[in-house]
């Protein structure tokens, strides 16, 4: 029968592609197996078009971003004048405005300063706490863990006004540390939850062995434990960085001029000056870059990070 021979040929092909046991079973022959092989082949053909859905989706995702990049290389006359899918007269003017005008580039510096401060603070306080949660039971541990989560979930709008008054009282308004501390509200819980998820994956025997070998706790923690969860620390740092970077409401409320983040400078430009679309687009593109740069390194952990380490 032609069909059977077909199937056997296909089974040979399968042997190269599929894992050994399944292919072996198919190669042993028999009519039922031949039918199975045919069905598997059909599945294989179906999945030849696997790329259609992801491609359509990715095009949908990329179009608005492309449009922003497109605009950032156009002059304002071109943006408002002729409608074109790509820049006819590409210009770097918009970017040069941002890199030469202090009121623009200082926004980036301010954002980076408070975001880095926040990341350092969040990770350094979250590390011991996450270790405690992953290794020990103590009075009120579950309530505490839950309470941390509620802060991650709390609407920033609720905190905007009280933050303003609290930091006014301490004279911290318009400083980087104010924003860095305020962002700890959601970033510390996030870091604790993510790190706890990673630490629970490290067997406890490692701790015990280290103690038997005569390591003190601080030395064990720094020399053995931290290297073991290095990827977890990287992921937690990435997410604290990211969530602080994308937040606008609190950062805008707590700053006026000296520590104003780039995000707030952008909204001001939209409302006040005569709509400099090109510069606005260029500023937008520049805020996407930090995420785009590091995303490759955390690609396998994105779901884990957003799900608070619970995936």
């Amino acid at each position: 029968m032609a069909g059977t021979r077909d199937a056997v040929v296909n089974a040979d092909k399968d042997q190269m592609m599929r894992n050994a046991p399944a292919a072996e079973r198919t190669a042993h022959g028999g009519l039922a197996d031949a039918a199975l092989a045919r069905r598997m082949r059909r599945r294989g053909e179906e999945s030849r078009f696997w790329w259609v859905v992801p491609t359509i989706y990715i095009i949908f995702l990329m179009l608005p971003i492309y449009w922003l990049i497109n605009m950032s290389f156009k002059s304002n006359q071109e943006i408002l004048g002729a409608f074109s899918l790509w820049p006819q007269n590409p210009t770097l003017r918009n970017y040069s405005v941002i890199f030469t005008d202090p009121s623009w580039y200082k926004g980036y510096i301010n954002s980076i300063i408070y975001v880095v401060m926040n990341t350092v603070i969040s990770i350094s306080v979250a590390l011991p706490a996450a270790y405690a949660f992953s290794r020990y039971r103590f009075l009120g541990d579950k309530h505490l863990f839950f309470w941390l989560l509620t802060n991650r979930m709390a609407p920033p709008a609720v905190f905007a006004l009280p933050f303003f008054q609290l930091y006014s009282a301490f004279g911290l308004i318009d400083t980087h540390i104010a924003v860095a501390l305020a962002h700890c509200l959601f970033n510390v819980p996030l870091a604790v939850w993510i790190l706890e998820g990673f630490m629970s994956g490290v067997p406890k025997e490692i701790d015990e062995t280290a103690y038997i070998d005569g390591y003190s706790f601080p030395r064990f923690f720094v020399k053995i434990f931290v290297p073991l969860i290095a990827s977890g620390i990287g992921v937690a740092a990435f997410f604290t960085f990211m969530f602080s970077w994308v937040e606008l409401l609190i950062a805008r409320t707590l700053t006026t001029t000296d520590a104003k983040p780039i995000a707030a400078i952008m909204t001001r430009t939209v409302s006040a000056s005569g709509m400099d679309w090109g510069v606005l687009a260029a500023a937008g593109v520049l805020t996407i870059i930090p995420g785009a740069l590091v995303i490759w390194f955390v690609r396998n952990y994105i779901a884990k990070g957003f799900a608070l380490g619970r995936v």
Partner: protein, 288 residues
């Protein structure tokens, strides 16, 4: 993992406790303070009891914003969850396609929220935006600045654009954890594509789907920046969601009492949802 009872672990948690108490408990106490007091300016405060809460719970404005927000969250969930599952099912399992898909799909998640707003504000404009211009050229009367329906569509499409990838990535994480043996068994039994989805893939995705639903609900329930940048809550009040309304009241009109009462109600709802999230998570961890 078996955990040992050790109350000294409190010392390790102490820094977190102090920091979060400073940035969460003190501000929250301020809110509680305002919610039960009235002021006529200066620093003069009078006890107002539950007055503001009663006013809030009888205020049409509050319920309208709440209603809009719930409808918004419901639409968001009913689009993003099925769409996310569908895309995750069609993602490649191995080869060069995997990292490419992951990286490109995750990109919108990492864009600052106000830039997301800016992107769509520009994209949807009928004079300079690709979407608005194309729709207009095709003869649609699309204008998100004047038309409440168009404003809603724009805000929803924007949120789908921004957050569907999160559902995709979570579902994908659930799917790749299914061993090949499951699929081989299904093939031997002659299971249909639907049966494979219904009895193998869906049960295995249950946990991540729950996380996805809860996270998406929470975040859409407190959405602020993106619709604020695109529509500013308008036209009229048509896209004024809870957070936008709250900020308008607290920072714009400086109505501290009602705003504080609203914050407390808002926070209690979020607290309840967090509790659901936490219970679901810990139950799963115990089963595991």
């Amino acid at each position: 993992m078996e955990k040992t009872w050790n109350n000294k672990a409190w010392f390790m948690v102490l820094p977190v406790l102090v920091l979060v108490a400073f940035s969460a408990v003190i501000p929250l106490m301020t809110v509680v303070n305002y919610s039960v007091q009235d002021t006529f300016g200066g620093n003069q405060f009078f006890w107002a009891g539950a007055e503001w809460f009663e006013e809030m719970l009888h205020s049409d404005r509050f319920w309208a914003a709440m209603g809009r927000n719930l409808i918004f969250s419901a639409i968001i969930l009913s689009i993003q969850i099925p769409l996310g599952i569908f895309i995750a099912l069609n993602m490649p399992r191995k080869g060069w396609g995997v990292p490419v898909c992951l990286v490109l799909m995750a990109l919108p998640l990492l864009i600052p929220w106000n830039v997301v707003g800016t992107i769509w504000q520009v994209f949807g404009r009928i004079d300079i935006g690709l979407l608005g211009y194309t729709l207009h050229a095709l003869g649609f009367d699309y204008n998100y600045v004047n038309d409440p329906f168009d404003a809603w569509v724009t805000v929803i499409v924007m949120d789908v654009w921004h957050w569907t990838s999160l559902v995709v990535l979570l579902c994908y994480a659930g799917l790749v954890s299914i061993p090949d043996a499951f699929y081989q068994a299904a093939k031997i039994d002659g299971a249909s594509r639907w049966a494979v989805f219904r009895y193998i893939q869906l049960p295995k995705m249950q946990r991540v789907l729950l996380i996805a639903v809860l996270l998406r609900f929470m975040d859409s329930f407190m959405i602020y920046t993106e619709p604020f940048v695109v529509t500013g809550g308008g036209p009229g009040n048509s896209t004024t969601f809870l957070s936008i309304d709250l900020v308008k009241m607290a920072v714009g009109q400086f109505d501290l009492g009602p705003a504080a009462a609203m914050s407390i109600i808002y926070f209690l709802i979020v607290l309840l949802l967090s509790w659901v999230f936490y219970t679901v998570m810990t139950n799963y961890d115990v089963e595991k």
